[in-house]
């Protein structure tokens, strides 16, 4: 009996080994893939505050990229079996950390995409470094990912706090709003943004009269606004995001500061914020946007596809995830393997264009993806022609000016 | 009027009453004496329907009310004068009087209450608990009289009051009796009990150990006081 067991076990193991050997993707292209397949994992917020802006929509976008890759290469594709998986990190760094481990080790993920919330993204970056697997950040904004805490396997695809602050701070100051008051949530993102804003405003010849920290989360900004308005600034810059931003804008509109001629500039605005609060409440607000769905024919065509799949227009995170997944698949195609070092080699230094990246470059030195970004203004309700048609693109900020230089990043891998 | 047969009561596993039998007739004043912990308060709570873990039967005006909820017992004519008087601090004197619903055509009018208790009329707009202890006791009694209750369950009405006030309460109880209302009086003050009651029950360790008429009760006063530990 016992020997039977042993023999059966041995046979099973041999079978598994054989299967493993055969399952290395389409033999024709000579592929080299662990487990015989390529696994793309989207790790983001599936239920909390960032669910609408990225969440399930980003998973959909990655699946669209996979479909496009397969359509483009057909039989010539180096890998047939491509799996897209997802996990919910609830915006908590500890959960992100465990989930990333699980995805890399047990789900066989070759790459993790998206990861909103800076602290969660930093945790995933560390896991990527330890596991020698890729991580492309799309939704987290901290400059540390490609700065002080950069690593070989981590890429920052869409934006960072420098880009947001620099675009808005510089342009608004140059347009005549010289005197600023800043209001920021007292945690990493808010502090980071405030530093970057201050630098940009001063660089453009403006002054920051004050910077007021607020609790996070917070639903009552009335007094903070009165206080900020008391120095009679030209513009109040708010670094609040998500629900807090909506509270802030509603209370700014009710505060009467607008009537006194004080403008509101927003550090990070997502199109879902405008959609949820209503375009009239935001009308005229300036902010920097990495991408907008209705910029040109190509983006619009892609947005139509996305809407067909999901029922809503895409945010820049959705498009960013599509682009990141697509460029990753292209790199895999060129490398003919899912081995991280080879794929990183194909990605780094690549100059490319797609529906999201305009004049894009995956900078080799710090893995920050630089591309053209846009200063946007929220339309007046009378200008809105269709649902989700909320933004006017005021200026294009060329890739080289939009992001910090490789020297400024301070990354050494 | 009130007939209690084999009443048992528990607090969880612990039995507090072990088959109490007692009765109160129409227009009768009956006292229940017993030392602390004898089960007096439990008995009252069983009778008014606030303690529901019971066995045996309680019948009132010929109806079995053993399972009846408290507010319906009150509506059937049972009036409770709580041992701490139960005056609402958040209600005025008049609101304290008006809170319980009328339950029979014997109900006193507000005018009659104020005539009988002039002090309540003077303080009608004041919060209930601003009255003195004796006044609060009168308010508590007046409150159940206004409903037209047929039986008053009075828990230690003389407790903590000056002798003059106790005498006044005694007078009120006798007046009540005159109108045909029955009273079950829970008392430790044996002297006071003897001045108002017709019959007496002695409760000890959850059982009625003796039933005495008033003359016997007076004769054995010293022995009873000893039993009560006073």
């Amino acid at each position: 009996m016992k020997s039977m067991h042993i023999r059966a076990g041995a046979a099973a193991m041999t079978g598994a080994l054989l299967l493993g050997a055969c399952g290395g993707g389409p033999g024709a292209s000579g592929g080299d893939f662990t487990g015989g397949k390529l696994v793309l994992a989207v790790l983001n917020d599936q239920s909390g505050v960032y669910k609408d802006a990225s969440g399930p929509g980003s998973v959909k976008a990655v699946k669209m990229a996979v479909a496009d890759y397969k359509k483009k290469y057909g039989d010539a594709a180096v890998v047939d079996d491509i799996e897209v998986t997802s996990a919910d990190h609830q915006n908590k760094p500890d959960i992100a950390n465990t989930k990333a481990q699980e995805l890399y080790e047990r789900k066989g993920a070759d790459i993790i995409l998206d990861v909103p919330t800076s602290s969660a993204a930093l945790a995933v970056a560390t896991q990527a470094k330890n596991h020698h697997k890729l991580f492309i950040d799309v939704s987290a904004a901290t400059t540390q990912l490609t700065g002080a805490r950069c690593n070989k396997y981590t890429f920052q695809w869409a934006y960072d706090t420098y880009m947001l602050a620099n675009g808005t701070g510089t342009t608004v100051t140059e347009n005549g709003d010289k005197n600023w008051q800043l209001i920021y949530p007292d945690y990493e993102f808010g502090q980071d943004m405030t530093k970057s804003f201050t630098k940009a405003i001063k660089g453009a010849g403006g002054t920051v009269q004050g910077a007021i920290p607020t609790p996070f989360p917070n639903d009552n900004f009335a007094t903070f606004l009165t206080k900020a308005g008391s120095t009679k600034p030209d513009v109040i810059g708010t670094m609040q995001a998500g629900g807090d931003l909506i509270n802030m804008v509603k209370q700014f509109n009710a505060s009467g500061l607008k009537e006194k001629g004080i403008d509101l500039a927003v550090g990070l605005m997502l199109i879902t914020d405008i959609h949820s609060l209503g375009v009239d409440q935001f009308a005229g607000t300036m902010f920097t946007d990495p991408w907008y769905w209705n910029m040109d024919k190509e983006t619009r065509a892609w947005a139509d596809r996305f809407q067909h799949e999901t029922g809503t227009r895409p945010s820049f995170e959705h498009a960013g995830n599509y682009s990141a997944a697509l460029q990753y698949l292209e790199a895999v195609q060129r490398a003919k393997t899912d081995k991280a070092d080879a794929v990183v080699g194909e990605l780094a230094g690549k100059k490319t264009n797609d529906v999201f990246l305009h004049n894009g470059e995956i900078r080799a030195k710090d893995h920050l993806v630089i591309h053209d970004t846009y200063l946007a203004r929220v339309k007046k309700p009378s200008q809105v022609k269709e649902d989700w048609d909320y933004e006017d693109i005021v200026t294009t900020i060329p890739a080289a000016k939009a992001f910090p230089t490789a020297e400024e990043s301070g990354c050494s891998m | 009027m009130l007939e209690v047969t084999g009443l048992r009561a528990w607090y969880g596993e612990a039995q507090a009453l072990h088959g109490v039998n007692l009765s109160v007739g129409e227009g009768e004043v009956v006292t229940l004496v017993g030392r602390n912990g004898a089960g007096k308060t439990t008995l009252v709570r069983c009778l008014i329907g606030l303690h529901r873990q019971v066995g045996g039967t309680v019948s009132f005006l010929g109806r079995d009310i053993t399972g009846m909820p408290a507010h319906r017992r009150a509506r059937a004519g049972m009036g409770w004068v709580q041992d701490d008087r139960g005056i609402y601090a958040g209600l005025t004197v008049e609101e304290n009087l008006l809170l319980p619903p009328k339950v029979s055509d014997r109900a006193w009018t507000l005018d009659r209450v104020y005539e009988a208790f002039p002090v309540l009329a003077d303080r009608r707009k004041a919060p209930g608990t601003t009255l003195s202890g004796g006044e609060q006791q009168m308010l508590a009694i007046a409150r159940v009289l206004r409903t037209g209750a047929r039986l008053l369950l009075m828990d230690e009405p003389s407790e903590g009051l000056a002798p003059v006030v106790v005498a006044r309460i005694g007078a009120i109880i006798r007046e009540i009796k005159e109108t045909g209302v029955s009273v079950l009086l829970i008392e430790q003050n044996v002297k006071f009990a003897a001045t108002v009651a017709d019959r007496h029950y002695l409760l000890s360790q959850g059982r009625i150990v003796e039933a005495l008429d008033n003359s016997e009760f007076r004769r054995r006063e010293v022995q009873l006081l000893e039993h009560l530990g006073i």
Partner: protein
């Protein structure tokens, strides 16, 4: 001076939301003995309902101030009949857990149906912009919120002091057992009182709709401060709930103005101090325990 007055109005406006909601919480606790943990979720539902009514039926704020409390009352009655009543005889902890669970369910349902980014809401034009009062410039909407909720608090106070229902609510808050033993059918009032408390939370939500982000999570943080309000005012004290509501609003506003990072902590410091000095809260009566 001008700034101080502005802070005060802002504080009173923020306090209005707390006062109305805490009033409902206090009345429910008084009559049912239930600490309704779902009050924050009912506040959220009030705001969401107002936004949905505006979006689908075009009902403006004025109509919502009327319609939403009625709808929330009905909702409260349903919740009480379906769930709360069965646990009233048990330890109050059971209803605390029930309402906590209810919060999670309601928040998740709203997320499923309306997403997480929130819903738009446009206040009537007359309430936008600023008003000048004796040389002081004040935001109109906040002034309106304050005046409106003071009016509601006065109405509720009249209801409590001038009607038989109010008398019964006060009586059973203070001495639940005696009130029943005196022949008052307290049970008859339990359901409408729960509905009324829920309606007040919903009303606070409607008032918040034009002024705060309408999201499934809007009640979470609110509920935490609300419990601080109730503890400060004295659990079950109706006057205490209102006074503490406005007080906490003021502390929040002046805290934001002069010690921004500590604004929220200040409320809990205040709460701790009051518990130290008066364990039953500002207006609580220690004997009014159950």
């Amino acid at each position: 001076m001008n700034a101080v007055l502005q802070y005060a109005v802002q504080g009173l406006a923020a306090g209005s939301f707390y006062a109305l909601a805490a009033l409902g919480l206090a009345i429910i606790f008084g009559v049912l003995g239930v600490v309704n943990f779902a009050h924050g979720a009912f506040y959220m539902l009030g705001a969401v309902t107002a936004a949905v009514l505006l979006d689908t039926l075009g009902l403006t704020l004025w109509w919502s101030l009327l319609a939403v409390p009625v709808l929330m009352f009905v909702f409260g009655v349903v919740v009480e009949r379906l769930f709360v009543q069965w646990l009233l005889r048990l330890d109050p902890l059971y209803n605390f857990l029930l309402t906590f669970g209810l919060t999670l369910v309601l928040v998740e349902l709203v997320k499923q149906k309306y997403g997480v980014s929130g819903l738009p809401y446009k206040p009537p034009g007359i309430l936008q912009g600023r008003a000048e009062l004796a040389g002081v410039v004040l935001p109109r909407y906040q002034l309106f919120v304050f005046l409106f909720s003071v009016a509601i608090c006065v109405l509720v106070w009249l209801l409590m002091t001038r009607t038989r229902v109010g008398m019964i609510v006060r009586a059973s808050t203070e001495k639940p057992e005696l009130t029943r033993a005196l022949g008052v059918n307290v049970g008859r009032w339990v359901t409408p009182v729960f509905g009324f408390g829920v309606a007040l939370a919903g009303l606070a939500g409607v008032l918040a709709a034009p002024f705060r982000a309408i999201t499934a999570d809007m009640g979470n943080n609110f509920a935490i401060i609300l419990f601080a309000v109730v503890v400060i005012g004295g659990l079950g004290s109706i006057v205490g709930a209102v006074v503490a509501g406005f007080l906490v609003g003021l502390v929040e506003a002046f805290g934001q103005a002069y010690a921004p990072t500590f604004a929220q902590i200040l409320i809990f410091v205040l709460m701790a101090l009051i518990i130290l000095v008066r364990p039953a809260g500002l207006f609580g009566r220690e004997e009014a325990t159950r």
